[in-house]
């Protein structure tokens, strides 16, 4: 009973929202807006569920004294401290802003910075793993684009750089457009399958 009901909800709600794109009917627009607003609320609750799940997983690790439970304890401690501060003070409080600037931004940015090393390493070893036309073209393109980002003195070299940039941009933009169209087609097909009830990722079999 529950699952066919879920499929019915998905199809009905999805069709109403989809029709709103193409049919400018006021009643439909109002209904669609209400449905989307509920979806926003539900999406927020879903994010909360995800956090609760995170708490559950790490609490279980601590309770079972699994390997790495110390880190789980640190995670939960940090989370509850941040949560308490956020709920009491609000996310716009200067203390919360400082917390973001002291913890979240530095760690995430540092993780990204690690890529600067690992990507060079991976690029250097690329030919060790495979040598084919695609790899050669890929690596040459990479080197050329990176070289165009280096400080190039003005003059003839600068003109050559512009030419090279144009030569690269045209096929790259064409390829990117092909990828975007492929993604859009995939989204279209997948969405239609959901709206037609052929795919039920919500468990509505």
């Amino acid at each position: 009973m529950n699952r066919p009901f879920a499929a019915a909800i998905a199809i009905a709600i999805g069709l109403i929202v989809l029709l709103g794109y193409f049919l400018p009917i006021p009643v439909l627009s109002v209904l669609r807006l209400e449905l989307v607003q509920w979806a926003i609320l539900l999406a927020g609750i879903a994010a909360l569920v995800g956090v609760f799940n995170l708490i559950s997983v790490h609490w279980q690790k601590i309770r079972r004294r699994e390997r790495g439970n110390f880190y789980s304890a640190v995670l939960l401690l940090t989370m509850f401290v941040t949560l308490a501060m956020g709920l009491l003070l609000g996310p716009t409080h200067s203390l919360m802003q400082s917390l973001v600037e002291a913890v979240i931004i530095p760690v995430e940015a540092s993780l990204m910075a690690l890529l600067a090393v690992t990507l060079v390493y991976a690029s250097i070893r690329l030919f060790r793993r495979r040598v084919d036309l695609m790899t050669v073209v890929f690596l040459l393109t990479l080197l050329l684009v990176l070289f165009l980002l280096t400080p190039i003195p003005s003059g003839g070299l600068s003109g050559l750089a512009d030419l090279a940039r144009s030569i690269i941009n045209v096929p790259a933009s064409g390829g990117a457009r092909g990828i975007l169209l492929g993604v859009a087609l995939g989204a279209l097909v997948t969405g239609l399958r959901v709206l037609l009830g052929m795919d039920r990722p919500y468990g509505g079999k």
């Binding site: 931004i105 940015a109 040598v131 280096t150």
Partner: protein
């Protein structure tokens, strides 16, 4: 009046009802039957070995108790049989046949299935039917031909336990040689080469008690006992053989094929079929390549295997089956055509003086001798072809799992030259139809009624067997020694990574410390020029929506790219800004951006700009906000109504914003805004400030006109700063960025060229 039994140890006479010598306390029955062999159709004497009962696990005692009840009902007949056996010394003793369930309370968690299959009663037909043969799991070992006493059973004698090699502690060497071998406690000391990956020693039942009684059992030579492996390990096809009439051969030990139901014939060599006669060659020591000690651990059976796998593994270590095999196979005299078995030196290392089977040979065995359901995952081709010319049974005549029933050595190169003895009667039906040398079923040997007890042995369905095969393969692959990356290679990789790290960190640090701002800024790309033009075309005090859709990881780059554009916007038009984010960290990043890059404008929250905060829902959220911002975001982060504040006074849809500027680090989030909000903007400019990683994917939208202009990455931000002639973070970073990038290009170029050469050379070597 039963005859008194003479103790072999002290020579004194004991009453027949005694189990132990009343003078020296050594067991009488086993001693009595030390040299006893078994004959076809012979009913073994049931021995009461109650003193061994306490060491058995609870479940085994229960099983034996069941059988004992049946035994008690026929006590008189058994007594007569025992007397007959004692008198004739023909009935082989069943060491555990008379065990009584006397004690309780001991709890042994794991016991090998060869014990599990022992129920004290005669072998049951149902058990044969319910179980599947796993002969490839039987351990075979070679013994010197001269060490095998020949008997009237055609060589079917049990190996004298006196051959067990003991170490200083008094335990057999195969016990001390590895704890993994303890489950084979009652086994005579032989070359314990694992045939199955399961049969490797990781199956470690709690058999400490067994180990204790092993030395005691070493003195008497156990006659072939009804074995769990054989009684439970028979395939369906054997159980479907024509039923026999007459007296069931309770306790008669089946060997490779259930000898309890098959007539072995009276003479050693004459009556034996080819494949049995050739088994002496199979017992011949394998190849001279020594096996590394403990190599059997390569196929350790994990302790957390499912039960059915455990039972499989334990069945493979079925000691009684091993005894049976050794009993009636090992002493087969080599025929004239049979090459003399190589010396004993090829037994495992844990047998003193014996050399193990080489790894290659065992691996070949696994490849060639797996049953059907395993052969699918076995290596397609064995490394060495068996010498089929002398093979006792043509491999093509038997199912592979039947071939697997042959001993290890039969598939090893040294064992292929098996003697070709005269064939016995040809089998007329069943899977062995057409084969000669098959032990026929003789009335009176096999069971005549359907058994009532159930087997504790493996009852694996095809699915389970396929699963077992898969797991077996996985285990084998996991435990196969893989060529490790040499430490030098690992070290060189690590050094390379460290070198790159040091170069990059030093370069960036030195250039940043120097405060250099000498390198030329990049030229203005077309899309950036369009973005600047769009900003310049805005009216003063216009409402502008700025979307913060990037993560903290790239906040430095996006902020640097956007700082100059927003700075120019505020400086020139002094717009009313609305900040929004579809990322959870976005609201804080928005505040950080305003504080870090636009503080010079003294923009005040609530007056000059408003931070709407987080908009959940992804594409649906953007769609809703584009249609009705006031409905979707009724309040700001502070809980106040934004739409009464100056930045949101005249906003009803997204088209009411003079422009939308999306700051993003992902092409995906940019695409969401372009797809959902773009069609509703009524031609208002949509600008993108992106990370360099997202720029190329957004470029088609710029070319299609859906995005009015774009600033991509640090280079884009630097070009805007150059056009605006105002310093910003991009200028501060640009020298370090450009010069480091130059070094990076050189490193990648040189490193790639080097690896290209090395890779080509390596491939050339590999092909050669």
């Amino acid at each position: 009046m039963m005859a008194e039994i003479q103790c072999r140890n002290c020579g004194k006479l004991n009453p027949p009802e005694l189990l132990k010598c009343q003078f020296c306390q050594l067991p009488l029955a086993a001693m009595d039957d030390e040299d006893e062999t078994i004959r076809p159709g012979q009913v073994p004497t049931r021995k009461v070995t109650a003193e061994l009962e306490p060491i058995l696990p609870q479940w085994l005692r229960e099983a034996r108790e069941k059988s004992r009840k049946a035994a008690e009902e026929e006590a008189a007949r058994q007594a007569a049989e025992a007397e007959h056996a004692a008198a004739n010394r023909e009935a082989p003793p069943d060491l555990l046949a008379g065990l009584e369930a006397q004690t309780r309370g001991e709890d042994i968690d794991e016991v090998p299935d060869w014990l599990a299959g022992m129920q004290g009663g005669p072998p049951r037909a149902s058990e044969r039917m319910e179980t599947y043969p796993r002969r490839q799991e039987i351990r075979w070992e070679e013994e010197p031909a001269e060490a095998q006493p020949e008997d009237e059973m055609g060589g079917l004698v049990s190996s004298p336990q006196s051959e067990v090699t003991f170490d200083e502690s008094g335990l057999p060497s195969w016990i001390t040689g590895g704890a993994a071998e303890k489950e084979d406690a009652p086994a005579p000391a032989r070359d314990e080469r694992p045939i199955s990956p399961f049969d490797t020693g990781s199956f470690r039942p709690n058999t400490g008690e067994l180990a204790e009684f092993l030395p005691e059992e070493a003195a008497p030579s156990p006659a072939p006992a009804p074995t769990a492996a054989s009684e439970g390990g028979l395939p369906d096809w054997l159980s479907k053989l024509p039923p026999v009439s007459g007296e069931p051969a309770s306790g008669t030990p089946p060997a490779l094929v259930d000898t309890g139901s098959l007539d072995l014939g009276p003479k050693p060599a004459e009556g034996l079929p080819d494949w049995m006669a050739n088994l002496d060659a199979a017992f011949a020591p394998p190849g001279p390549e020594p096996e590394a000690p403990g190599k059997s651990d390569a196929f350790d059976l994990p302790a957390d295997l499912p039960d059915w796998m455990k039972s499989t593994g334990s069945a493979s270590e079925s000691k009684p089956a091993e005894e049976d095999r050794g009993a009636f196979l090992s002493p087969l005299p080599p025929s004239e055509e049979t090459p003399q078995p190589p010396p004993i030196s090829s037994s495992p290392a844990f047998f003193p003086g014996m050399e193990p089977v080489s790894e290659e040979e065992v691996g070949e065995l696994f490849a060639a001798e797996l049953p059907d359901w395993l052969s699918n995952v076995a290596p397609a081709e064995p490394k060495h072809e068996p010498q089929a010319a002398d093979a006792p049974i043509s491999p093509g005549d038997l199912p592979s799992w039947v071939q697997a029933m042959r001993p290890v050595e039969s598939v090893l190169p040294e064992a292929q030259a098996a003697p070709t003895t005269p064939a016995g009667p040809a089998e007329q039906q069943g899977p062995l139809a057409g084969l000669s040398g098959i032990l026929p079923i003789v009335p009176g040997v096999g069971p005549s009624k359907r058994p009532t007890s159930h087997s504790n042995m493996l009852q694996a369905s095809e699915d389970q067997q396929s699963n077992a095969a898969l797991l077996e393969k996985l285990l084998a692959s996991e435990t196969e020694p893989k060529p490790l990356t040499s430490s030098s290679v690992v070290f060189s990789q690590r050094v390379l990574r460290w070198t790159i790290s040091i170069i990059l960190l030093l370069l960036v640090t030195i250039i940043s410390l120097s405060g250099s701002q000498v390198t030329p800024l990049p030229i203005l790309p077309g899309e950036t020029f369009a973005a600047i033009n769009a900003v310049n075309g805005l009216s003063n005090d216009a409402p502008i929506l700025i979307v913060f859709d990037y993560e903290p990881s790239l906040s430095g780059e996006v902020e640097a790219a956007a700082a100059s554009l927003i700075d120019n916007l505020i400086l020139v038009h002094h717009p009313r800004l609305t900040l929004l984010s579809t990322s959870l960290n976005g609201p804080a990043l928005a505040e950080h951006f305003m504080a870090a890059t636009q503080s010079q404008h003294a923009y005040l929250p609530g007056t000059n700009y408003v931070n709407l905060g987080y908009l959940p829902g992804g594409a649906a959220g953007v769609l809703g906000f584009a249609e009705a911002p006031r409905v979707m975001m009724p309040r700001t982060l502070n809980g106040t109504s934004v739409w009464a504040l100056p930045p949101g006074l005249d906003i009803k849809t997204i088209a009411d914003y003079a422009a939308v500027i999306v700051l993003t680090d992902q092409a995906e989030s940019a695409r969401v805004w372009i797809e959902q909000a773009g069609p509703l903007m009524n031609g208002r400019p949509m600008l993108m400030v992106t990370s360099a990683q997202a720029g190329p994917m957004i470029q088609p939208y710029v070319l299609s006109g859906q995005v009015t202009g774009m600033v991509s990455g640090l280079a884009g931000g630097a070009s805007v700063e150059q056009a605006a002639v105002r310093p910003g973070p991009s200028r501060r970073y640009w020298d370090a960025f450009g010069l480091t990038m130059l070094i990076v290009v050189l490193m990648i170029f040189i490193g790639s060229a080097w690896n290209l050469v090395v890779g080509i050379q390596a491939r050339a070597r590999g092909e050669a």
